[in-house]
Every structure is written in structure tokens, then in C-alpha cells.
């Protein structure tokens, strides 16, 4: 999608107030408001994020959340700054930080990035907090951990999963050039997915006012200027209507039909390069591509247990709406730009707006409970891209050998890397571990406990194990930066409920520079 299109889509929401230079906060956040608008920003500003462990990766993530202005963050870490920490963490002040509490030092330097963010250093030991004060964790809107010991992580993940409020959790693991992270949530509702697929113009199923307007045009009496400015939507609707009248009510079916349809359009030109007809020919696929409910929505509609949230009610109404003929979603009022004179374009836009408003009222009548106008409008406007993600519990994949083996066939390097990181975790908590790092065979042994009897001969395994053996405890500055960006992006998507977050594990390998996703 080009930038211009995304700008135009906001037309509907534009105000008509007198314009003057925005306040300093709006100017500061200008470049991100163009991505998630005021609604996303206010969601960020209400968010309370907890990050556990003040590693280089953790502070990189936080930096990318403090800069765009999250409301509050707490950094929980009881450790003191080591010489190694002072060497790889930008949010520690060299040797002066050594020996001080890691959370306090990092919070001090992170806070400098944005005065609007409320920050807190918690110097307690996570193990103690989990044991004595589990409700503490439920007061946050998102929790992120980095290389947290698997025992504590499992306890935290279970606590959050079992609580009905279900705070999302993002556990991040990294070793040298390898990393993965997971997003744990029960359900995630997205209205503004910023889908790159634009909504249907319903050329194939024109609403009565559109068909009537298209039919009413008298091409023959038009002068060449007017003829050159008929919007392509009319050209397609009219030509298709004529076509159907002579083809048993069916649109073009075969390749020959489609070529024929295009020639009929071309034959109506008065000059060889008449732009509006060129546009109609380029957009002719709209005449034979049926407007249908997109598969991801059909799947959602078949989901019998829609949540009893406003979003669930909206989905239920959308399902009812699409069950009635002509089996489509409520019309979108957004019209793309096209060759036309101003008057014709504005008239066409008004036709779409009027029909969209009418269908929105029909939609509203189908709601099981009344909901506020603004929400209904936002939902209908974005209906073609709404999503309801169903997530999984952290660690569930590692106890599902059949799924792991299936992934191993299709996503070999991603699965092998994920398993190698799980093996490193297991090695860390094994009582028999030696100082230093694990050996290749120790890692293999741990992987075999997850997928017993599997052949680990593939190169992807030795590649992943070899990297872990090489740098089991390395939190590299550039990997930290990379993960800091990736995890912050997912956090922003979760908090704003805009765009579509990862559902599952994202696996990263910066030796061969790839990322991949193992879906939940």
C-alpha cells in the first residue's frame, strides 16, 4: 500500500475544526501517529509494562517503548551491574554503574528518553515476588522477560494464563546469534488491522442506487471532456450489466470471456489512450471477482464460542449480516481515487457513503446488545480486516511432539533453532551442569527428551547446536538491538490492538540472517 492511499483512508475521520499548528506532544509523536493515530497513542499511554531482567536485550526493548510514550514501565531486577553488563548495555553508564543495582541504573537512564513516561525500578528478586506476591503481576497490561530461568518463567506463564484477566506475556530467549520469542495470550481482538487488501467496491453486486446512476448516464450526448471523465466504476457496472443480460445473468467466466469483456470496454473509447477506459480495463477483474466474505472471517463466523465482549457482539452481528443475501459485508465508504471530474467523483462518493450509512444501520439492528456509535462505525469501516486471534500457552509446543515433528518437516531451521534454545534452557536448569556452556551432545540429549526417537542428523540441528555451544551466554549488542526492535513492535501491536501480532514463536538466526514463525 502506498503512503498516499493510507493517508486518504483517514479522510472520513478528519475533523473540520479550524486548523492550526498541533501542540508539542502531537509534533513529537507525528511520525508514529501516522501509523496508529490518536486511538493507538492513547492505548500506549494507558499501558503498564513490566520487564523482568535488565539485560541489554531487555533495555533495548524498553527503549523502543519509552520513546513512543507508553504510560508506565517497571523494570524488575535484583542483580547488581557486572563489568560484562557495563560493557554491552547502552542504558548503563560504563564503570560507574558497576556494583549498583541493575534495575535502578537502567531505569534512571531510560527515563531520560521521555519525560511523559512514568518509570519504576523494582529491586526485588523475581523468585520472591512470585512466591509472596503473585497478584503483583496482574496489575500490568503486558509482561516481557528476557532469558528468565525456565522454572520461574513457567510459573509466571501459568499464573498469567490461568488468571481470567490474562495479561499478555512475551518471553524472549537469546544466545549469541540465535533467539526466539513467544506471545502468550488467550484471545486478541483487532479491529484496525490496517489490512493491505482494500474492501470490495461491489462492482459485481452493485447496490440499486449505483446501478441506476450507471445506467442513467447518456454516453452519446456527452462531449469528449465529460466522456473522458466518467469514473471507471460506472463503466464497469454498466458494461457488466449489459454483459449479464446476454449471458444468462452470469459475469465473464472463461479466459476468452474476460478478453471479450475487455474489448467491449475498449470499443467504447473515443480516443485510443482515454485514461478512464484504460483504468476500467485494468480494473476489469472486479467485474468477475465475486465479492465474498474473506476466508479468515468465514473461519471466525464458524467459531461457535465468540467471546461475550463488545467485539464478540460485533462479530456476531457481522455474521448475521453476511448470512443474508447478497452475502457480503457492510459496504465501505472508502472510494479509491480514479480518473474523473470533481463533480462525478464527489457524486459517486456520496452514493457509496449513503449506501454505507444505510447498511451500517442494518448492521446495528443485528447487534445482540446496543453499543456506542463510535465503536460500531470503526468496526464497520474496518470490517473486511477484523481479526480474532486465539493464542496458546507458553511452552505448549514443547510438550506436543507430534506438532514439533510436523514443524520439523516444513520449517526445519526454525524448529531446530527453537529446540536448541529449549535445550539450552533445560541444560541451564539441570542439576548436573558444569560451569561454562553445554556441549553439542548435551543439547542433543535434551532435544531427544522433547521428540524421543527422532533422527537429529539434519544440518539445521548441527548449525543451531554449534552456535549455542559457541556463545551460550552472549547478549550481543546488535542482536539485542534487533530483538529490541522486534519485541517492541509486537508489544505495540498487542497494546494498540492495531496491525497483526505474531501468534506463536518468532525464531531469529542472525548468522544466515533470517526470521521465521512457528504458529501456535
Amino acid at each position: 500500500m502506498s503512503f498516499n492511499e493510507s493517508q486518504s483512508q483517514d479522510i472520513e475521520g478528519a475533523t473540520t475544526a479550524i486548523q492550526s499548528q498541533p501542540d508539542s506532544k502531537t509534533r513529537r509523536y507525528d511520525r508514529q501517529l501516522r501509523l496508529w493515530a490518536a486511538t493507538g497513542q492513547s492505548a500506549l499511554e494507558s499501558a503498564r509494562v513490566l520487564v523482568i531482567g535488565a539485560s541489554a536485550t531487555a533495555t533495548s526493548i524498553l527503549k523502543n517503548l519509552v520513546l513512543p510514550g507508553i504510560g508506565h514501565f517497571t523494570l524488575l531486577d535484583h542483580a547488581t551491574v557486572s563489568p560484562a553488563d557495563a560493557g554491552n548495555n547502552f542504558f548503563l553508564q560504563g564503570t560507574t554503574s558497576i556494583g549498583r543495582n541493575r534495575a535502578e541504573e537502567a531505569v534512571r537512564l531510560l527515563s531520560e528518553l521521555n519525560d511523559n513516561v512514568d518509570a519504576c525500578a523494582d529491586t526485588r528478586n523475581i523468585a520472591d515476588v512470585l512466591a509472596s506476591d503473585p497478584s503483583y503481576f496482574l496489575g500490568f497490561s503486558l509482561i516481557i522477560t528476557h532469558n528468565l530461568s525456565p522454572v520461574l518463567l513457567t510459573r509466571l506463564a501459568d499464573l498469567l494464563w490461568e488468571n481470567p484477566s490474562s495479561t499478555p506475556l512475551i518471553p524472549v530467549r537469546s544466545a549469541g546469534f540465535l533467539a526466539d520469542f513467544f506471545v502468550q495470550f488467550h484471545t486478541h481482538e483487532i479491529i484496525e488491522s490496517h489490512s493491505e487488501t482494500s474492501p470490495s467496491l461491489r462492482i459485481d453486486k452493485p447496490f440499486p442506487a449505483l446501478l441506476q446512476a450507471a445506467r442513467a448516464l447518456d454516453f452519446d450526448t456527452m462531449d469528449s471532456t465529460d466522456h473522458g471523465h466518467i469514473p471507471y466504476v460506472y463503466l464497469l457496472v454498466r458494461t457488466l450489466d449489459d454483459w449479464k443480460a446476454t449471458h444468462n445473468g452470469l459475469p465473464p467466466q472463461t479466459h476468452a470471456d474476460k478478453q471479450n469483456f475487455k474489448s467491449i470496454l475498449a470499443a467504447q473509447k473515443r480516443t485510443p489512450d482515454q485514461e478512464n477506459f484504460e483504468e476500467a480495463i485494468a480494473q476489469a477483474y472486479r467485474a468477475w471477482t465475486p465479492t465474498v466474505v474473506r476466508p479468515h472471517l468465514v473461519e471466525l463466523f464458524n467459531d461457535v464460542t465468540l467471546p461475550s465482549t463488545p467485539f464478540g457482539h460485533l462479530l456476531a452481528a457481522l455474521r448475521s449480516f453476511s448470512e443474508r443475501p447478497p452475502h457480503v459485508l457492510p459496504l465501505s465508504a472508502t472510494l479509491p481515487d480514479m480518473k474523473s471530474d470533481t463533480e462525478s467523483y464527489v457524486r459517486l462518493q456520496n452514493l457509496y457513503r449513503a449506501q454505507a450509512a444505510e447498511e451500517r444501520e442494518q448492521f446495528r439492528a443485528l447487534l445482540p446488545v446496543p453499543l456506542e456509535n463510535e465503536l460500531v462505525e470503526l468496526f464497520v469501516k474496518n470490517a473486511h480486516g477484523v481479526q480474532l486471534l486465539r493464542g496458546a500457552r507458553y511452552g505448549a509446543l514443547d510438550t506436543a511432539p507430534a506438532k514439533l515433528i510436523m514443524y520439523l518437516d516444513n520449517l526445519t531451521r526454525e524448529t531446530a533453532t527453537h529446540l536448541a534454545l529449549s535445550a539450552l534452557d533445560a541444560w541451564r536448569s539441570s542439576p548436573s551442569r558444569q560451569n561454562g556452556g553445554p556441549t553439542d551432545s548435551e543439547l542433543r540429549e535434551h532435544v531427544l527428551t522433547l521428540i524421543p526417537g527422532t533422527e537429529l542428523g539434519k544440518k539445521e540441528f548441527s548449525d543451531a547446536f554449534g552456535e549455542i555451544v559457541r556463545a551460550p551466554a552472549a547478549d550481543l549488542p546488535n542482536v539485542a538491538a534487533f530483538l529490541g526492535g522486534m519485541v517492541a513492535q509486537e508489544s505495540i501491536k498487542m497494546i494498540t490492538k492495531q496491525y497483526i501480532p505474531i501468534n506463536g514463536y518468532c525464531v531469529v538466526d542472525l548468522v544466515d540472517t533470517w526470521t521465521g514463525v512457528l504458529e501456535s
Binding site: 503512503f3 478528519a14 560493557g87 526492535g485
Partner: protein, 451 residues
């Protein structure tokens, strides 16, 4: 590997005792190779550490969103001699991502503020800023660096540095080959690549991959506006010059934006078009690209990763005084990385191939075929618009004569009558035309045939 050849003293004035354990993390990957490490180009241990921490000199072009991130990565990774060039000053809208700057720095030169901040935060690193244009510097200046990292938002500046580094290559001298590592972001999307001048594809080779800038036909703007953007373009392209004469628009001046916004709103109202806002006006006239800290961090992480690969290769090639290692290294094979984070996360890496007719690194003429009826003016219009050429204000000549020159004024006046003439009257079928522009340090050779 011949490691003993590299043992230069520490850089003047910046020697700082690295504390024990400072590089605990990064040494894990510098001390030993991994299973996929290319044995020809990987230099393990003290040699590479000494090179990186005491000898390597890196240039960062751009101290904006990517520049801030890459400076921090380089400093933490042990580079001690970093140079940074940026011609901009800090604006309040930079603060949502350019994390080396604070509100009190607004109005200060980016290069200087960034250099000071890095040196304050990371002990022992020397960052030398230059507040100015890359075009101010000559070949000797660029020759002193081991590699160049570029986080620019200007296509023109990237074309300039790319061509400059390609011109710098002397096949007899391995040190003249300066890897160029380039990145860019837009919203949740970004890309990073490594260019080994003359060996891999260059920036110019991939010009056609750029997003085409949004332009509106002048007749739409003048006669048939439909979108609020059309009204804004009308205000800035037609109405401003009509009313304000010679005064140029300063897109950073709120008074100017207000004037354009008001003019665009009045026109929009007249045509019953909705949606002209301050933010949209600013977006259109400044061609604003959305930008966030997280995407910059991802791409900077990638850029540093590419730096690391280049360091190993160029070090290996210097030690062996051989072009071969640097140029055959796997590090350059998959030279282009892209990531899209709007829907889950999708990334991919591929090899972008050289173009034989690339005007910078290719050597062959670019074949173009045009109707025999085209005037010189029409050809110039095409050169400005064509995605893989995009030369603003081109001057044209053949080996025998000037066709059209944009400057100096006398030459422009003398060649202006040619604009109306047919190209075919001036250039024979299959003839060559040389295209130059003051903004580009190279010329483009066209072979013209007529349809």
C-alpha cells in the same frame, strides 16, 4: 592466517583501558568460529579484536533514526574510531525515535549532538562529527575509512555516496574497496543491504526497486481535484507561486504550512472535498514517511551484522593482500535483507544482482527505444520519470555536440532551441547520448533506437 601484520598502536588520544570483562559478550563470538563461519574470511581471536578496537575506522552517514542506533551499536561493539556526517539539525519530531537527542537539543546539529552523547555514555570511544554535506568531502576523506554505513532518507545523497565509492575502487589496491552498508525504514517495514563496490550490485543497480513517489498529474491538480491531497498540491504547486512570487516554501515554517493548509481547505470546500488537515498538509508537502524507533532498531541490528561480516572479510583480504577473499566471501552472497512487520513478521534475504547497464558499475550503455517523433523535451521528461533512471535536470550531449544543457545560463540559452527539435534530427538511430546532472557524480550513457 597472517595475523602478525596487524599490530598498529591505539588511536591517538582515544586510548582508554578497557575494563576486565567489558567484552565478555562479544568475545564469545570473536574468539571462536561457528559451524557456518566461512573459514577463509573468519579471523578469530586477538587479531580481529585488535583490528576492531584499535585500528578500524568507520564512517556513519546520517545521524537520524538509523544513525543513532548504528552509532550506539558500533560503540558497544568496541569500535573506537567512528566518524559521523549529517547536515540536519534536530527537530521535535525526531524525538520519538532518535534516542541520542533530548528536547533541549532541538535546533542543534545532529552530528555533533549524537557524537557528544555517544562519547559521554560509552567510555573510550571517539566519535568525530561533521555537520555538513557528504558532497563537501573528497576522495581522500572517504579513502581513510574501512567501511561506510549509510542511514539516509535522501535518494540523491545515497546515489552520490554509492557512485563515489564505486569510483574509488582501484583493482591494484584492496584497501580502495570500501564496503557500503545501507539501510532504510518506513513504518513497520525496513531493508538493509551490503554493497561491495564493483563486485556486488550497487545502489544505482536497484533504483527501480524504490517505491515510486506519489505524483499527481498537473491537470488533476488544476482542474479536477478529487482528494484532499490534490487540493494541497494545488496550494503548494500553483497557488503559492502565484500569490507569493519568488518566495520559496519553507516546509519547516509553521506559518507557511498554515497558509498552505488554509488555501487547500478553501479549495476543498469549493469542490466539496473533505479531509484537509494540518497533519495531511504537512505530510504531503514534506513527503513525510512514518517512522518508529523499533523498526530502526531492527534494521540497525542488521546493519551491524553486515558490518561484522565485512570486517572479517576485509581483514582477511588485507592480511593476504588479496582481493579474492573479500570478493568471494559468502558475506556478500545474500546482500539484501527486507522485513515487514505489519502482519505477523515476514522477512527475507536475497541476492540482488548487478545490472550490466548500470550507469555506475555496469559499463554498458543503457538501450532505450523511443518514437521517432519525440522531441528532446519529451525525452528529458522520460529521463526524469523513468524508475531506473530518475535524473532530475539532466543535461544531454553526444560526442560531437551539446543537445541540451541546464547550466551555465549562456549554454542553456544556446541549447534551448533544441528542446523543440526531434531527437531523431540530432541523434542517428543506434547513436549514443551522454546524460549528466550536477547532483550525480557519474554520467549515463544511452543508446537510442527509434520505433
Amino acid at each position: 592466517m597472517v595475523m602478525s601484520t596487524i599490530n598498529a598502536p591505539a588511536i591517538n588520544g582515544s586510548h582508554y583501558p578497557d575494563w576486565e570483562g567489558r567484552y565478555y559478550h562479544i568475545d564469545q563470538v570473536l574468539d571462536r568460529p561457528g559451524p557456518r563461519t566461512d573459514p577463509d574470511s573468519f579471523m578469530a581471536g586477538e587479531g580481529v579484536k585488535n583490528f576492531l578496537r584499535n585500528q578500524c575506522k568507520v564512517l556513519v552517514i546520517g545521524a537520524g533514526g538509523l544513525g543513532c542506533e548504528i552509532l550506539a551499536n558500533l560503540a558497544l561493539s568496541g569500535f573506537k574510531d567512528i566518524h559521523v556526517i549529517d547536515m540536519d539539525t534536530i527537530d521535535i519530531s525526531n524525538l520519538n525515535r532518535q534516542f541520542l537527542f533530548r528536547p533541549k537539543d532541538v535546533g542543534q546539529p545532529k552530528a555533533i549532538a549524537a557524537a557528544e552523547y555517544i562519547m559521554k555514555r560509552v567510555p573510550g570511544v571517539k566519535v568525530t562529527p561533521y555537520h555538513g554535506k557528504i558532497q563537501d568531502k573528497d576522495d581522500d576523506y572517504y579513502m581513510q575509512f574501512n567501511l561506510v554505513i549509510c542511514g539516509l532518507d535522501s535518494v540523491e545523497a545515497r546515489r552520490w555516496i554509492n557512485a563515489t565509492l564505486v569510483n574509488l575502487v582501484d583493482p591494484e589496491n584492496p584497501e580502495s574497496l570500501k564496503p557500503l552498508i545501507d539501510g532504510g525504514t518506513e513504518g513497520f517495514k525496513g531493508q538493509a543491504r551490503v554493497i561491495l563496490p564493483t563486485v556486488t550490485s550497487c545502489y544505482e543497480c536497484s533504483l527501480d526497486m524504490l517505491n515510486k513517489p506519489t505524483t499527481f498529474p498537473i491537470c488533476t491538480i488544476a482542474n479536477t481535484p478529487r482528494l484532499p491531497e490534490h487540493c494541497i498540491e494545488w496550494a503548494s504547486v500553483l497557488e503559492w507561486p502565484r500569490v507569493k512570487g519568488e518566495t520559496k516554501i519553507d516546509t519547516d515554517d509553521p506559518e507557511h504550512i498554515k497558509w498552505l493548509c488554509d488555501a487547500a481547505r478553501a479549495r476543498a470546500e469549493e469542490f466539496k472535498i473533505e479531509g484537509v488537515t494540518w497533519s495531511l498538509t504537512q505530510g504531503v508537502v514534506k513527503n513525510i514517511i512514518p517512522a518508529i524507533a523499533s523498526t530502526n532498531a531492527i534494521i540497525a541490528g542488521m546493519l551491524y551484522h553486515l558490518v561484522n561480516s565485512c570486517i572479517h572479510c576485509s581483514l582477511a583480504s588485507c592480511c593476504n593482500e588479496a582481493f579474492k577473499i573479500a570478493t568471494s566471501s559468502a558475506a556478500y552472497l545474500n546482500n539484501y535483507f527486507m522485513v515487514i512487520g505489519t502482519e505477523s513478521v515476514y522477512s527475507y534475504t536475497f541476492e540482488h544482482e548487478k545490472r550490466a547497464d548500470c550507469p555506475v558499475c555496469g559499463g554498458e550503455s543503457l538501450d532505450i527505444s523511443i518514437p521517432g517523433s519525440w522531441t528532446v523535451e519529451r525525452l528529458i521528461e522520460m529521463l526524469v520519470e523513468k524508475q531506473d533512471i530518475q535524473i532530475k535536470k539532466p543535461s544531454l550531449s553526444t560526442t560531437k555536440k551539446h543537445i541540451y544543457f541546464q547550466a551555465p545560463p549562456q549554454l542553456e540559452a544556446a541549447t534551448r532551441p533544441n528542446l523543440e527539435k526531434k531527437v531523431s534530427e540530432l541523434v542517428p538511430d543506434g547513436g549514443d547520448v551522454t546524460v549528466t546532472a550536477t547532483t550525480l557524480p557519474f554520467s549515463l550513457s544511452l543508446r537510442i533506437t527509434y520505433t
